[in-house]
Subunit: 202 residues, 2 copies
Amino acid sequence: MPRPRLVPEHEAIDIALTLFWSRGYDRTSIADLSAALGLGPSSIYNAFGSKERLFRRAIERYEETHVAPWLALISEPHDGDPAELVRTLMRGLARVYTGDDTPPGCAIFESGGTASPRDSQAAIITQRPRDALRRDLRQRFVEARRAGHDLSATPATLAAAVVSALSGMSQLACDGGSRAQLLNVADHVASGVVRRTRSSGS
Amino acid sequence: MPRPRLVPEHEAIDIALTLFWSRGYDRTSIADLSAALGLGPSSIYNAFGSKERLFRRAIERYEETHVAPWLALISEPHDGDPAELVRTLMRGLARVYTGDDTPPGCAIFESGGTASPRDSQAAIITQRPRDALRRDLRQRFVEARRAGHDLSATPATLAAAVVSALSGMSQLACDGGSRAQLLNVADHVASGVVRRTRSSGS
DNA sequence: GGCATTTTGAATCGACCACTCCAAAATATC
DNA sequence: GATATTTTGGAGTGGTCGATTCAAAATGCC
């Protein structure tokens, strides 16, 4: 019954995500969002309440649309080679970080800034999915080890190493690294997950 | 002959570095620096010219005092095992990232923010040492391969992987990761640098 | 002590920040 | 068409940002 919106909510969130993703939370102003949406500040606040809440919605959307498909690989029980699973996960995210029509890097790693001792909600918002990724990966490695796979390190260390590599791949993409470079890193890291008992290939 | 400074230049840079390191460039205001130094804004601008130039000096100091000692390991020719070299480098930086009386993480990775398409001098300032680290590491791997060492990937890929791991270790430290966790990641990554021809240990 | 030189403190600059207020506009229901 | 409900545009809120100005203060040199 009320006046309809000029730009649908999900579309507004997508636009906001692109801005936060490319410039980070701090360097994205309400004026930037206003210009990108073609709406006044009042419309933004009427729809989302605050810049922080809009950022939260944008990050949630990023998780759903860009990370969740690959995260599903490791959240459900899987009896395949854990190295191959990590390889698929990392290669998929490598492509996300170097998408042609998306900003370089990973929104979860880059857009929130560093988590300072004191208040910085944006950093906390992006830290939660990072921790979740470490936890899920670790759990997956625990299951893989139970299934008899010979891992090259403890599940916790492997999870930390894989997430560290992903974080660094995001950084590399932001520094201008190519998709091929990121894929090479992904392959190399994945190949180090399982213990290799003999020399492989040339 | 002139009036002496209340706080020496190198000491002021150290204090500024600690602030930039812990809060990042954007979230560190002139007022913050003024309070930490016990000086008025005019003194800061008289001594350093601008916030950006002070940041540049602080990052240079970080490179000299915290990174250069470990970087020296890979810049000069070395005939030892490249894996052991990487291990020493990464373990040393892991300790820097989790120092008791320094902020968590790496100033070069965390304090500058993401390099946006458009102007953000702070991001560019921190990108230069990141690129230098990749370049030096790659060159070191090239030499190691010439010396007959059997690397597990191309020098460029290995360099990108090691720097990615370091970047991720910095992120992990900012997320509350312990020194032991970072050291484990460092050991695991280093062990993957050389090709392992047979299973090693338990 | 007087002078040149530099730093220091305090007040202040315009610009931009996230955010708000309010009247006009656009719809569904009646 | 009248009314209720929500969005929209635009002006404007106080606050903080980086940066500046200027007189007072503190030194070495003479």
